[in-house]
Each structure stands twice: as structure tokens, then as C-alpha cells.
């Protein structure tokens, strides 16, 4: 605090007071409902707390880093970590690619854009439970829509959700379907800030549509893409709902994610262990975000 510097600028003081008045409701809510639980969770991760200790939460043992050490050695945790990375590396490019393609398409439309925009946004607003029913029908082996379509071109499709190699990619497709709408809106908004003059000048110069996109649109979109990559990445690292409603984590845990694992552990009552797993996920998110900022920002 700089109140001791003697000369107090009245506007500065006014700003400081106003700043804190404006900040205080958020800060209070934040301390009680976010910071508190985050710290409590951190505390729990260093203990052997179980659900059966809830009545006497202070009587648990402090176990140091044991939970973390056990996690790293837990074969299931390793597996779900690998799965989560797969969700990330498959899901982010797919979701962003679809969102960008649709956004570019929408941007090229002169009429009915609003209609298409709402249509493409629909998956975002539908309830996952209802949609899971539909997707199961799409992906099933016998009588499934996808396999029926593949059948027309002579391909005999597998039981998508029952094979350890196709279940996870199938869920990624479903997740991309459900999530691309939000990104599409963001990209579309970004596309409208692309300098029109440049695009037109390039067109006059005879640049192809692809090179216009590649050398003018894409660079202009870089910040929007970065933002999209960060929020999509955070989303895929927390992958859970699709697996929960579609495969329950199977077959053979091939679709179980870290978040899923953590909820399982909570369910089993292993609160300390679950808290530690959730903190490792937190750490992964921080690292990923940092990495993405580094990677995509350099050319700014």
C-alpha cells in the first residue's frame, strides 16, 4: 500500500476505494465458495481421508505425498491419464477444425446466416442425457445409423462403442459435435474483424481462396484461435460427461478419463486419493495453458 508516500492523489484514493468496493462482492464469494474449497481439497490430498471420516474430519492421518506417489504408480491412473491425453490430442484439433470450417462457411453466406448459425449451435444447448440416447443408436452395431450408412458403400462397420480401439475416438466425435458450436460463434466473431480491405486487395491481386485464407485470415485469427485452443484444451482435459453417459468408462476402461477416475474415487469414498487426483489434473491444465500461450503467442 502506498498510503504512506505523503502526497495522496485524491483520484487515486477514490479509485482505490472504488476499486475495492467494486471488487468486494466477487472477492467475498470467491473466498467462500472457490478459494476455501480449493484449499480444503489441497489439504485433503495430503491425508488419508475417507467418506467414513466425514463426521470427524480432523481425526484423519496426515500422509504427506503418499496419495500422489500411489497415483503415479496406480496402473488405472496411468491408463486414464493416457486416455485423457488422447482425448486432448484428438479432440482439440477436431473440434477447432470443425468449428473453423463451419465459421468460415457461415461467414461466406450472404443470406440465412442467422438460421444456419442457430442450427449449428443447437447441439450446445441440448441435454447430454437425451442426446446420449440418440448417439447410442447412431453408433450401435446392429441397426446403427452409422453402420447402415457405411453399409451402402460396402463397409462393414464395427460395434463402435464396444471395441477398445474405436470407443474413445467415437466419443471424441460426439464431444466435438456437442462443443463446436461455442467455438464456432467465437471464430465467426473473430472472422468479422479480419480486415476486409486486405482480403479484397488480395483477391484483386489474384490470390487464390486458399492463400487468402492461409495468409490473411488465419494470421488475423491467431488470438481467437489461441483463446479457442486454451478453452477447448481445458475442456478436453476435464472430459467426463460423454464417457459417463455413453460407455461408463468401458470397454476395459478404454474411455475412462482422469475426471471420471476422480469421481469414481469420490464415489468409493477415497476423498484424499480423489483430491490428489484432481490436483494432478489441475496441474496438467495449468501446464497445458502455459504451453499453449507459449506456442501460439511467439509470432505475435
Amino acid at each position: 500500500m502506498s498510503a504512506s508516500t505523503g502526497v495522496v492523489d485524491p483520484t487515486r484514493r477514490g479509485q482505490a476505494v472504488a476499486g475495492w468496493i467494486l471488487a468486494s462482492p466477487f472477492v467475498v464469494l470467491f473466498l467462500v465458495f472457490t478459494a476455501g474449497p480449493v484449499l480444503a481439497s489441497l489439504g485433503m490430498s495430503f491425508t488419508d481421508m475417507r467418506s467414513t471420516d466425514l463426521r470427524s474430519p480432523f481425526a484423519v492421518q496426515f500422509v504427506g505425498l503418499d496419495n500422489y506417489v500411489d497415483l503415479v504408480q496406480d496402473p488405472l491412473f496411468r491408463k486414464v491419464t493416457l486416455n485423457t491425453l488422447l482425448y486432448l490430442v484428438l479432440g482439440v484439433p477436431l473440434t477447432m477444425g470443425v468449428a473453423l470450417a463451419v465459421a468460415v462457411g457461415l461467414n461466406g453466406l450472404s443470406r440465412s446466416r442467422g438460421f444456419f448459425r442457430v442450427g449449428f449451435y443447437l447441439p450446445v444447448v441440448t441435454s447430454i442425457v437425451a442426446v446420449s440416447v440418440v448417439w447410442k443408436y447412431i453408433l450401435r452395431d446392429e441397426g446403427g445409423l452409422l453402420n447402415a450408412a457405411l453399409g451402402w458403400v460396402g463397409i462393414n462397420g464395427p460395434a463402435w462403442l464396444d471395441s477398445t480401439s474405436t470407443a474413445l475416438p467415437s466419443l471424441v466425435v460426439m464431444a466435438a459435435w456437442r462443443n463446436f458450436g461455442t467455438l464456432m460463434v467465437i471464430f465467426l466473431a473473430g472472422l468479422q474483424t479480419v480486415p476486409r480491405e486486405q482480403v479484397e486487395a488480395a483477391e484483386v491481386d489474384g490470390a487464390s481462396a486458399w492463400s487468402r485464407f492461409r495468409f490473411i485470415t488465419l494470421p488475423a485469427l491467431r488470438p481467437v484461435l489461441l483463446f479457442g485452443a486454451v478453452i477447448t484444451g481445458i475442456g478436453y482435459l476435464q472430459f467426463f460427461e460423454e464417457a459417463f453417459v455413453m460407455t461408463k468408462g468401458g470397454p476395459l476402461d478404454s474411455t475412462r478419463s482422469v475426471t471420471f477416475f476422480t469421481f469414481d474415487q469420490f464415489g468409493y469414498g477415497n476423498y484424499g486419493y480423489a483430491a490428489a487426483a484432481s490436483y494432478l489434473l489441475f496441474l496438467a491444465i495449468v501446464l497445458l495453458t502455459f504451453f499453449q500461450f507459449r506456442l501460439l503467442r511467439t509470432k505475435d
Partner: protein, 426 residues
């Protein structure tokens, strides 16, 4: 239990600073004495009750009779969704402000009793011998009973009577060898694509595998429930037998979609399956009547009835109740044979009290009689707080074995070592 906002801050601090406070051993269940007997007389005061699913929906009106008999008592029923019931009960126990009575899924008893949330059943409240033994077993944690079975369900064999007849079977099979032959015949002569559909892993497959193991004489724990005894030749043999249905193409190797089982059973592509009483309704909704299908007790390994799984719901009284007398009297009332029968008429839940089966529809309906018979020969899993986790491990290994990735012997070895590292939690 007076804790406020400080709890969270406290928890965090405790987590960081806690170095010496250990867990006191008397926190939970195990070796606790039964509560003292409740007094005679009518129930008084407010009795708050939580119940899930259909039971929760229907119980509200059903308790009018209890209130008529106990004019000073006021029963308040809250319907709780099954999905959130587990979390709600654990928070209620943690906070010390739950209802007076709650329906508790049989596999949760161990956890909640160990958490110290449930009151041991008072001496002399009910007679253990009145109940199906497997059902009573689910209330006992570490040798102490923490509630009373309310309703039960068990798994039996559902089969297409007409297809079986076509395949030369007038009666249901009564041994493992026969069952196998039965499934093969349903497939080859009865026209079914799958003779006996079994669950190839995934959540809850332990409920379909363990009956085979129990029928073979396997046990999951030693007598006092302190050690797992999963790694046994019987367990392995049962698992090999179970997975042979997948190897031989008698059962689908993937998990079925909702409606697929009933649909397949109705159109004759699935010849038989093993499930609980709710499936009679579903099968009939799918268009079958009892001239086309029938139920039969699970076949034993050698000739005779096998051992099935018993599940259902128990009634427990929370330790923090301020109306223990009224609460237990309400539980006692729900356990009377005639009340149990009325509740069956109302909701369709099978009574846990054996004598409730002696009269009325329960004693005459041929299908229900099968369930009643099977219930006498049925077990529940060990009531240990960690059961859900052990069960998840069993589910995973059943799946691996069903896919042919593991032999029965290796799978049960792994189940044993998983279970040992998970512990009993007692």
C-alpha cells in the same frame, strides 16, 4: 457436531498442519452393541423418512395407515432420486442432520455404518429368523446389525418357454451342464441367436457372475469378514464356466443397449437371460406373455438350486435422530407381514419377511413362487465400506476374462490382490 463456515478453513488448515492427530479406532462400526430395546406404546412426534425411486413416490400415501394407528405420530416422506441418494446420505451423516429413517441400498450399509451414521438395531425389535437369510446378512456390519431389510430382489433364469419346447426342453435346466446344453439347444434347435445372454463385464456384472461362484461354494471373505478369500479354485472355475458362454458364442460379447435385451428376448434372438423381478414387467411390455416365457431358479453346479444374488433395500435409523423411538416403531411397522404384503400390492416390491409370502398372490403366482424359492438360496455381498470399489475391480476383471484376455485363475488372483490392497475399510 457444531460446525460452521470455519469447517472449510479448518479442513484446509488441518490438512496442512495435521501431523500428530491419528484416527481413533472407536469412530466407526464393528463390535458395537445392539441398541437397547425400544419401549412399548405408540409412536409419537415427527418421523422424517427418505426413500428413493418408486418407493419414495408411493410411501407418502402408504403411511396413512401408520398415522391412523399412531395418531400422535407424523410421518414425512421425502422422495430422493437414486442418483443422488448416496451423496445425500453421506452428507447428512457428515453434517449430523439427516432424516430419522432412510431407505439404504443394501450395498451401502457397510460404508454408512462404518461412518458412524447409523444406529444399531434395537434388541428384540424384529426377529432375524423372520427374514430371508441373505437379506438379513446385508444389514450386518462387523457383526452388528444396523437396520432391517425392507424389500428384496433376486436374480433368476428367464427363458423362452416356447423356444425351449421346440428345442426339446419341457423343464428348465437344474445343473451347470444342463444349462450349457440348454443354451446350446436354444441356439441350434430353438432358433435363438444367443442361447443365454450374460453380462460381459461393465458395471454390475459382479451381480451376474457371483451367483455362479456362490453356487460353486465360493466365499468372498472369511467368516468374521476381516479377510478376502476371493482367490479360490471355486471362484476361478465359476468364472471359466461363465466366460465359456462368450467363447462358445452363446452370449453376446458386448454390453447391450437399453431395450435390446427385452427386444431380443421378445423376437426370439435371445433365448434366455438372468435378471431380477423388474424384468417380468419389461418383458411383458415387449409383447410376451406367460405362455411364451417362464422363470426358473438358477441351476446349481450339480443338480439342484443354485445360489443367487439378493439385493434390495434396508431401512436404517440415523444416529442423530431425535425420535429414535418413533423411528424404530415405524420400521417395525413396515416389517409386519401384512404391511409388507400391502406394500407389495401397492409398489410391487418383494417382501423381505418370509411369512408375507405365505398368503395371497405371492403364494399362488407361479412366477412369484420362483422368486420366493430363490430368495431362500441367495446371498448378499460382504457389507464392508469398500465394497463398491472391490465390486468395480471384479467388474473390470470379469470383462477382461470375458474378452479372453485373462484366464479365470489369473482373473480371480488379480481380484484378490486388488481387494486386499483396497482393504475392507472396517
Amino acid at each position: 457436531m457444531k460446525r460452521t463456515t470455519a469447517t472449510i478453513a479448518g479442513l484446509a488448515v488441518a490438512g496442512l498442519l495435521l501431523t500428530s492427530c491419528g484416527r481413533s479406532d472407536d469412530a466407526g462400526a464393528g463390535g458395537e452393541a445392539q441398541s437397547t430395546a425400544i419401549a412399548d406404546g405408540k409412536a409419537k412426534g415427527t418421523i422424517e423418512v427418505w426413500a428413493m425411486g418408486t418407493e419414495g413416490e408411493k410411501l407418502g400415501d402408504f403411511v396413512d395407515a401408520f398415522e391412523d394407528a399412531n395418531p400422535d405420530a407424523d410421518v414425512k416422506v421425502t422422495a430422493v432420486p437414486w442418483e443422488s441418494a448416496h451423496d445425500k446420505i453421506s452428507t447428512a451423516i457428515a453434517a449430523g442432520k439427516g432424516p430419522d429413517v432412510s431407505l439404504i441400498g443394501t450395498t451401502w450399509m457397510g460404508e454408512f455404518a462404518e461412518a458412524g451414521g447409523l444406529m444399531p438395531t434395537p434388541e428384540g425389535l424384529v426377529d432375524e429368523a423372520d427374514y430371508f437369510p441373505g437379506a438379513w446378512q446385508s444389514t450386518e456390519v462387523g457383526g452388528t446389525s444396523y437396520g432391517v431389510p425392507w424389500y428384496v430382489e433376486t436374480r433368476v433364469l428367464f427363458y423362452r418357454k416356447d423356444l425351449a419346447k421346440k428345442a426339446g426342453w419341457a423343464e428348465a435346466p437344474t445343473s451347470w451342464d444342463d444349462l450349457k446344453k440348454f443354451a446350446e439347444d436354444l441356439k441350434s434347435k430353438g432358433g435363438a441367436k444367443y442361447g443365454l445372454n450374460l453380462q460381459p463385464g461393465q458395471t454390475g456384472s459382479w451381480q451376474s457372475y457371483l451367483p455362479f461362484a456362490w453356487s460353486d461354494g465360493a466365499t468372498l471373505t472369511n467368516d468374521d469378514g476381516t479377510e478376502y478369500t476371493i482367490d479360490s479354485p471355486e471362484m476361478a472355475e465359476a468364472l471359466d464356466y461363465y466366460t465359456s458362454y462368450f467363447d462358445d458364442g452363446l452370449s453376446m460379447t458386448r454390453t447391450l443397449d437399453p431395450g435390446e435385451l427385452e427386444g431380443g428376448f421378445a423376437d426370439g434372438s435371445i433365448g434366455s437371460f438372468i435378471s431380477g423381478p423388474w424384468h417380468t414387467g419389461l418383458v411383458e411390455d415387449a409383447g410376451l406373455d406367460d405362455s411364451q416365457y417362464a422363470v426358473a431358479p438358477l441351476p446349481g453346479k450339480d443338480d439342484g438350486m443354485g445360489t443367487s444374488f439378493v439385493g434390495g433395500g434396508d431401512l436404517a435409523v440415523f444416529k442423530d435422530t431425535d425420535n429414535a423411538d418413533g423411528a424404530w416403531k415405524f420400521v417395525q411397522w413396515l416389517s409386519q407381514p401384512d404391511v409388507q404384503q400391502d406394500f407389495y400390492d401397492e409398489v410391487g416390491d418383494l417382501p423381505s419377511v418370509q411369512s408375507a409370502w405365505d398368503t395371497g398372490e405371492l403364494s399362488t403366482d407361479p412366477q412369484l413362487k420362483v422368486f420366493g424359492e430363490q430368495l431362500k438360496e441367495a446371498q448378499s455381498p460382504p457389507a464392508v465400506p469398500t465394497w463398491e470399489q472391490v465390486a468395480a475391480s471384479i467388474d473390470g476383471l470379469v470383462e477382461q476374462a470375458s474378452r479372453g484376455d485373462l484366464s479365470g485363475e489369473d482373473a480371480v488372483k488379480q481380484m484378490q490382490s486388488d481387494a486386499q490392497s483396497i482393504g475392507t475399510g472396517l
